[in-house]
C-alpha cells in the first residue's frame, strides 16, 4: 500500500512539476516541529523547496520530544522505506551511520562551503567517518540563568556570578520570603543544571573528559564531588512542589515573581516573550555562574537517508536550503534559537539571541564550545541515561557527594 501510495504521489508530483527547473522529486521529512511558531518556520522551508520545483511531504508524528517519531522511524527503516530526512541529533547520528542507511552529502557541503560556515565541533557531530550525513538547523544555548530583577531588588540581593555569590543571594532571597530557585524536578532538567555546574566548576577540559568522553576516572574525582556538593546546595533553595514540575511551569514562577531565578536553555525565552516581558527590563538573561565564556550547545539536525534516484536532487536541495541565510534567519527567529551558520546579520534577532550569537562565535574560537550531555549532544543515549539516572538518584537521596561520584562512575562504566 505504502509503495502504491508513494508511487501515486510521485506521479502527481512529477505531473505538477514536470516543467520545473530541476525536474521535480519529493522529500519526505520526519520532524516534530508541529507547534505554532515552529510549524510556521518549517513552512518557510517547504515554500523555498517548492519554489525550486520540488515536492515536500510532511511526515510529522505527534507527541513532542520525538519518542513516538523515533519508533515510527525505526520501523520504516527496518522495512526498507526510510523518509528522505529525519530530525535526529547528536551521537545518535553515528548510530544511524553504523546501520549503513545514511546518504553522503559531501558534494553539497563542498559547493556550499559548509566547513567554513560551521564550527568544527559542530561539523564533527554531523559527519560519519568524515563524510557529511546530516545538516544542522539551529543552535540552542543551555547555560542560561533567567532572573527576575524585581525579586532580587526586593530581597536586596545581587545577580550572582559565582556559586559563593549564588548561595549568599539565595539566603537573602529566602529570608525575604521568595523561592530562590524555580526548579523543575525531572531527570533531564536536573541533568541540565548538573552539566551547567560541571562546565562552571570543572571548566571546559574537565567537562569534555567527564561528560563527552565519559571517562570514569574524571567522573569519580574530587572535582566531581565539588560539582555534586554544589548541586545539592541548590536543593535547599527550591520549593517542595519541585519534583515532577515541567520546565515551563518553573519559568512561570520566575515570570510571576514567585521565584528569583531558573537555570534553563534559551527556549525559556519564549515563555517570557509570550507573557509580554522584555529582556533587560522585566527579566534578565545571564550566563549561569562561572560559565560566562562557555557555550553549552544543543543543536537540532536532519539526517539524510539513502533514497531513490529520482528524489536525490530534491533531498540535496533541502540540505542546501536549510543552511541558506534566509531559512536560518526566519526559522531561528521563530524558534528562539540562533543560526548555526556563522556570520549572519544580527539585526533581526532580539538582545538575548544577539548575545548568544556573539558568545557562540567567541566560544568556537576559544574552544569553549561544548556539547550538551543532558540534551543528547555529547554521549550515546545509553550513557546519557546512566548520567541522568545517577544525577537524579543523587539529587533525590541522602547519599554523600563522594558516594554520588562513585555510583555515577559505576553506572557510566556499566552503560558503555
Amino acid at each position: 500500500m505504502k509503495l502504491v501510495k508513494g508511487l501515486l504521489i510521485l506521479l502527481v508530483a512529477s505531473l505538477f512539476f514536470y516543467c520545473g527547473p530541476s525536474g521535480g522529486g519529493t522529500v519526505e521529512v520526519l520532524h516534530w516541529w508541529t507547534s505554532g511558531g515552529e510549524a510556521k518556520a518549517v513552512g518557510v522551508l517547504k515554500d523555498m523547496l517548492e519554489k525550486e520545483g520540488y515536492h515536500w511531504k510532511d511526515f510529522a508524528v505527534a507527541g513532542g520530544g520525538g519518542d513516538n517519531a523515533m519508533t515510527v522511524l525505526k520501523s520504516r527503516v527496518v522495512a526498507g522505506n526510510p523518509p528522505a530526512a529525519a530530525q535526529v541529533k547528536g551521537p545518535q547520528i553515528q548510530q544511524w551511520g553504523d546501520e549503513g542507511v545514511l546518504t553522503n552529502l559531501d558534494d553539497v557541503a563542498k559547493a556550499e562551503k559548509w566547513d567554513e560556515l560551521i564550527p568544527k565541533v559542530v561539523a564533527d557531530i554531523m559527519k560519519y567517518k568524515g563524510h557529511w550525513v546530516a545538516v544542522p538547523v539551529n543552535v540552542h544555548r543551555i547555560n542560561w540563568m533567567w532572573c527576575n530583577p524585581e525579586v532580587f531588588k526586593k530581597s536586596g540581593a545581587e545577580i550572582p556570578k559565582t556559586w559563593e555569590e549564588f548561595e549568599a543571594a539565595c539566603k537573602k532571597i529566602k529570608a525575604a520570603g521568595f523561592i530562590p530557585v524555580a526548579w523543575g524536578g525531572q531527570p533531564w532538567q536536573e541533568a541540565t543544571v548538573f552539566e551547567t555546574i560541571v562546565a562552571g566548576v570543572g571548566g571546559t577540559d574537565f567537562y569534555k573528559k567527564a561528560l563527552v568522553e565519559a571517562d570514569p576516572a574524571a567522573i569519580n574525582s574530587p572535582t566531581m564531588v565539588k560539582v555534586l556538593q554544589t548541586l545539592k546546595m541548590i536543593k535547599q533553595y527550591t520549593d517542595p512542589g519541585a519534583p515532577g514540575r515541567d520546565w515551563n511551569l518553573a519559568t512561570a514562577m520566575v515570570i510571576k515573581g514567585e521565584a528569583a531565578m531558573q537555570f534553563m536553555g534559551d527556549w525559556a525565552k519564549g515563555e517570557f516573550t509570550a507573557a509580554g516581558k522584555k529582556p533587560g527590563v522585566d527579566y534578565i538573561a545571564t550566563t549561569a555562574p562561572l560559565t560566562a565564556k562557555q557555550f553549552i550547545f544543543n543543536i537540532d539536525s536532519f539526517i539524510m537517508f539513502k533514497v531513490k534516484k529520482e528524489n536525490e536532487a530534491a533531498q540535496k536541495a533541502m540540505a542546501r536550503l536549510i543552511l541558506q541565510p534566509k531559512f536560518q534567519e526566519v526559522f531561528n527567529v521563530a524558534k528562539g534559537s540562533i543560526p548555526v551558520r556563522m556570520g549572519m546579520p544580527k539585526a533581526p534577532f532580539d538582545s538575548v539571541a544577539q548575545k548568544s550569537m556573539d558568545d557562540f562565535a567567541a566560544a568556537s574560537k576559544s574552544g569553549d564550545l561544548i556539547p550538551s550531555m543532558a540534551h543528547e549532544m555529547a554521549v550515546m543515549p545509553a550513557i546519557r541515561g546512566a548520567f541522568l539516572d545517577s544525577v537524579t538518584n543523587f539529587y533525590n537521596s541522602d547519599m554523600t557527594a563522594e558516594e554520588g561520584a562513585k555510583q555515577m562512575a559505576d553506572a557510566v562504566a556499566a552503560a558503555k
Binding site: 548510530q95 546501520e99 512542589g241 543515549p381 545509553a382
Partner: protein, 311 residues
C-alpha cells in the same frame, strides 16, 4: 423433485460445513495469536540474546544482557535501577493486592447487610473502575502535590504544620501509587465479593444461626471460607494488573522522583525505546514474562485439575 435429490448432497455438505465451520472461524484468530503473541514472545526472547541497540540485529552475545541486568542486584540497598524496579513491583503488588482484598471484602460484607440505598453505594464504590489509570494517575498527582492538593488544603484549614508529601519523597513515592491503585480497584474487588456473598445459600447461614453461632463467627467460619474461589480470581486479576502497571506510573510520577518509582514495565520501555538498548530492554521483558508464567502456570494447573476432579 429436484429438491429431494439435492437434499442428501446438501445435507452432507451442511453437515461437513458444520464440522469445519468452527475451525474456519477460529483459524484467523489462532493465526493472529500465534504470530502476534507467541511469535513475538519468541522473537523478543531471541533479541534478548543479541547485542541489538538502535535497531534489532542478530549478532548473538549469549546471556550478556541478563548478566548486566542482574549486576549489582540487591533488593535492599538498591544498587542498580533494575533492583529498584523489582523491589518496587514487590512492594506495590503485595500492598495493592492485600489492601484491595481487605477493603473490597469489608465493603462487600457491609453492603450485604441489606442496607437501604445499596444500589447507590455499589455504584459509588464501583465507579472509579470506569476511569482509565491515566485519569486516576493525573487526578492523584494533583491531590498529592504539596503545592496544590491535600497538604495545601489542610494547611488552609488552619493546621499550618500538616505535612503530607509522599509524592515528592523518593522513599515514600511508591506508596502513593499504591493509594491511587487501591482507590481505583477496590470497588471492583468489592463487586466480586458481593456476587460471591450473594451466591451463598441462605439456609446454611440460617442453620448456623439456629445452632447459636454469632454473626462474626458465621463470617469467619462459614462465609469467608466459602469465598475461596473469589479470593483466587481476585488475586489473579489484581496480580496481572500490578505486573503490567505502566500507565498509572507514567501519569502519577513518571517513575520519579528520579527513578524511585520505576517498575519493570517502565524500565523496559525506557531502555528499549528511549535509550536505544533494545536487547537489554528485551531481557527485562523476558524476566517479566517468566514472572507472569510463574504465577499463571500453577493457577492453570490447579484450575484444570479442579475441573477434572469435579467430573
Amino acid at each position: 423433485m429436484n429438491n429431494k435429490n439435492n437434499n442428501g448432497g446438501l445435507g452432507g455438505l451442511l453437515h461437513r460445513l458444520e464440522n469445519i465451520l468452527p475451525k474456519i472461524v477460529l483459524l484467523p484468530t489462532f493465526a493472529l495469536a500465534a504470530i502476534f503473541i507467541y511469535g513475538f514472545i519468541g522473537w523478543t526472547t531471541f533479541i534478548s540474546f543479541t547485542d541489538s541497540k538502535l535497531l534489532p540485529n542478530y549478532k548473538l552475545v549469549g546471556v550478556h544482557q541478563y548478566t548486566t541486568l542482574f549486576e549489582n542486584f540487591n533488593l535492599i540497598t538498591h544498587t542498580s535501577r533494575w533492583s529498584v524496579a523489582v523491589s518496587n513491583l514487590i512492594i506495590y503488588s503485595v500492598l495493592f493486592i492485600g489492601i484491595c482484598i481487605i477493603i473490597g471484602l469489608a465493603l462487600a460484607i457491609f453492603l450485604d447487610q441489606r442496607i437501604r440505598g445499596e444500589g447507590l453505594f455499589r455504584t459509588v464504590y464501583l465507579y472509579p473502575m470506569a476511569l482509565s489509570f491515566i485519569v486516576t494517575g493525573a487526578a492523584w498527582r494533583w491531590i498529592l502535590n504539596p503545592d496544590l492538593g491535600l497538604e495545601r488544603l489542610i494547611r488552609q484549614l488552619g493546621f499550618s504544620h500538616f505535612t503530607f508529601r509522599w509524592l515528592v519523597q523518593s522513599d515514600l513515592a511508591i506508596y502513593t501509587i499504591v493509594i491511587a491503585a487501591v482507590w481505583q480497584s477496590s470497588g471492583f474487588v468489592m463487586a466480586l465479593f458481593l456476587s460471591g456473598l450473594r451466591g451463598i445459600d441462605d439456609s446454611i447461614i440460617k442453620a448456623a444461626q439456629v445452632d447459636g453461632a454469632g454473626l462474626p463467627r458465621i463470617y469467619r467460619k462459614i462465609i469467608i471460607p466459602s469465598l475461596r474461589p473469589v479470593f483466587l480470581s481476585a488475586v489473579i486479576i489484581l496480580m496481572h494488573l500490578s505486573i503490567k502497571s505502566f500507565d498509572l506510573i507514567m501519569a502519577l510520577t513518571q517513575g520519579g522522583p528520579g527513578y524511585a518509582t520505576d517498575m519493570p514495565a517502565t524500565f523496559m520501555y525506557t531502555f528499549s525505546f528511549n535509550r536505544n538498548r533494545l536487547a537489554y530492554g528485551a531481557a527485562s521483558a523476558v524476566i517479566m514474562f517468566l514472572a507472569v508464567m510463574a504465577i499463571i502456570i500453577p493457577y492453570l494447573y490447579s484450575e484444570l485439575r479442579g475441573t477434572r476432579n469435579e467430573r
